[in-house]
Amino acid sequence: MSNYEFVRTDMLPQQEPPSDTVGVIGWLRANLFSSFYNTALSITVLFLLGSVLMNAVPWVFLGIWNADSLSHCREIFASQYSDGREYACWAVVRDRWDQIIFGYSFGNLEEGLFWRPVFALLFVFVAITPILFPSTPRTLYLATFATLFIYPWLIWGGSLSSYLSIAVLIVAAGYVYQILSKYMISLFSIGLMLVFLILGLWLLNAPISALIHLILPFELQSIPSREISGFVLSITIGIVAIVASLPLAILLALGRQSDLFIVKKLSTLFIELIRGVPLITLIFVATVLLKYFLPKSVNLDPVLSVMILVTLFTAAYIAEVIRGGLAALPSGQKEAADSLGLNYWQAQRLIILPQALKISIPGIVSNFISVLKDTTLVSIVALNDPLGIATAVRSHTDWNGIVWELYAFIALIFWLMCFSMSRYSMYLERKLRTDHH
């Protein structure tokens, strides 16, 4: 008989975990009071946190909402509270929230142009629904396409027909591509489609626009680019940068991974050039310095040039994030796609990119969040982003001396937008998980 012989005769049933390791008590023990030092640290931190909140909470919640100016606020503090302390003067937000959000270009609440940015934003919400939630009906993509033209119309104004004629030309170019691609390889038909589009925009835009105007004679008061301000400006630049940079970034990332020497080098050059320069410098160069180099007749729209730059800038960063995702894929995925006979673009679109983009979601969304906040840099070229408006409000005699309340309000709105993006990205990551269900 061996010394090691052991045979189990009865199997052990499942047991409850020890009671001091589960529930609230278990959590507190494990996370706050697991040792002498951790207990001391927890108590110190709780004490510091408490003393900050003791001051901050009353400041926020005992603040004044009804007042005409900062000095009025102070009079109310003196008469209402005997402790002689100052509380938040939220009245400035109540007085100026419309300027911070809608800027100067849409008049004020009474004159009634605010419906334009509000509707524009509603259109954006409808437009992104089919992209964010693929289970919604496909026909919503029509609304997405329409929003590309209705949004700028609502913001910049002018005749609806001038925006719709561009839409018509793009749809026509799409048909041209479909017809051509039956007879030649796709690269040629894409080229010819672009030629058609450029010629169309140059020659046919005016007549088509006039024709549409006969049927749909809708016109809005036009608003010069320079006057668009507040969160309307930030959100507009942010949306354009986010929407346009992703496809560009994908092309750049694929270009940098490509076997084609020139494509690879050009993509690398572009990414490294743009990433190596601060955004603020690019914006400054594009809107101020370019004026001196370009002929006098060329009229650079400051908002448009900022949009293009912010897009290029974001694309360069996201391209590198996506390249990381592409590099993380095992080479077997490409080989399997190749061995099944898929061509390059099919393999990229159906196999490689869905997986690479999924890996890159946190990085991409992180860049989206940062570009949305970077739109406040446009104040360098005298565009009035929310921070620029805050400066203007603070220099007004009524509100001279106000700091925290305005910036807290602006910060809150930015935080809400950025936090929703972050939550959505986490939802998306969970939804796209396929390893175990």
Binding site: Q333, E335, A336, D338, S339, L340, L342, I351, D435
Partner: protein, 262 residues
């Protein structure tokens, strides 16, 4: 290798035809300076089941990867199903859609369900209507005995099941030739049998197959020819009986004694 011996292989449809399926003529390949494949000459007729064996680094995988141009050769000629492999992308895609391949690590697409994995290439490459592609896919999934997993994702299946799906995915393209690149090397011993059984069934139906494998039992049962490669060259080839019982070259004897000796 003992695990397959109880299965009786039906040889009625295993017939080698006269038609040439694959022809490699003086094929050479280099990785930079390194000469990996040296003067490979090989003619595979329709219906042949060829097993390629050899020590690691001998170029077996590289050779079959050249047949569907996952690797490019620098000298010589490869003709598959009458089409010569050159830089012409159209020809390459054509050959690839006629030649199925299974990999050591399965390479299923993890973001698609089993069924989607199977219908992807037929719908995009062959332009088969979706409904028909699903019918075909279910037919082959039944054949590899996993139709009930069709709506799961690859990550939820065992290795053996994944490899059988990979075989079904290749079959959905109705290939004339199947290449297997060490299909059982990444599997637990208990799962090897289910994959080999699937491959045997395929052979029984008369499929032209080239398998890089270390499963010598499979080679004895199914192959009509065993090729031994070393140092990027074909060192010996023969019918399985002769190959295993009476190897001619010293390299082959040495190799066989190492893999069969324990």
């Amino acid at each position: 290798m003992s695990q397959n011996q109880e299965r009786k292989v039906d040889r009625s449809k295993m017939q080698v035809g006269d038609e040439v399926a694959i022809q490699l003529t003086n094929m050479n390949k280099w990785y930079g300076e390194f000469h990996v494949l040296r003067d490979i000459n090989l003619t595979v007729n329709k219906g042949e089941r060829i097993v390629i064996a050899g020590p690691s680094g001998s170029g077996k995988s590289t050779m079959i990867r050249c047949i569907n141009r996952l690797e490019e050769h620098q000298k010589g000629q490869i003709v598959v199903d009458g089409i010569e492999l050159t830089n012409d992308l159209k020809n390459i895609d054509k050959v690839r859609s006629e030649v199925g391949m299974c990999f050591q690590h399965f390479n299923l697409f993890p973001h698609l369900t089993i069924l989607e994995n199977c219908i992807l290439a037929p719908t995009w490459v062959r332009k088969t209507p979706r409904k028909e592609a699903i019918d075909t896919a279910m037919h082959f999934l039944e054949k590899v005995k996993i139709p009930d997993q069709a709506h799961k994702y690859p990550g939820q299946l065992s290795g053996g099941q994944q490899q059988r799906v990979a075989i079904a995915r290749s079959l959905c393209m109705k290939p004339r030739i199947m290449l297997f690149d060490e299909p059982t090397s990444a599997l637990d011993p208990e799962m090897i049998k289910e994959v080999l059984d699937t491959m045997i069934e395929l052979a029984e139906e008369g499929m032209t197959m080239i398998c890089v494998t270390h499963e010598m039992g499979f080679a004895r049962q199914v192959a009509n020819r065993v090729i031994f490669m070393a140092d990027g060259q074909i060192v010996e080839q023969n019918e399985p009986e002769e190959f295993f019982n009476n190897p001619k070259s010293e390299r082959t004897q040495q190799f066989l004694s190492q893999i069969l000796g324990h």
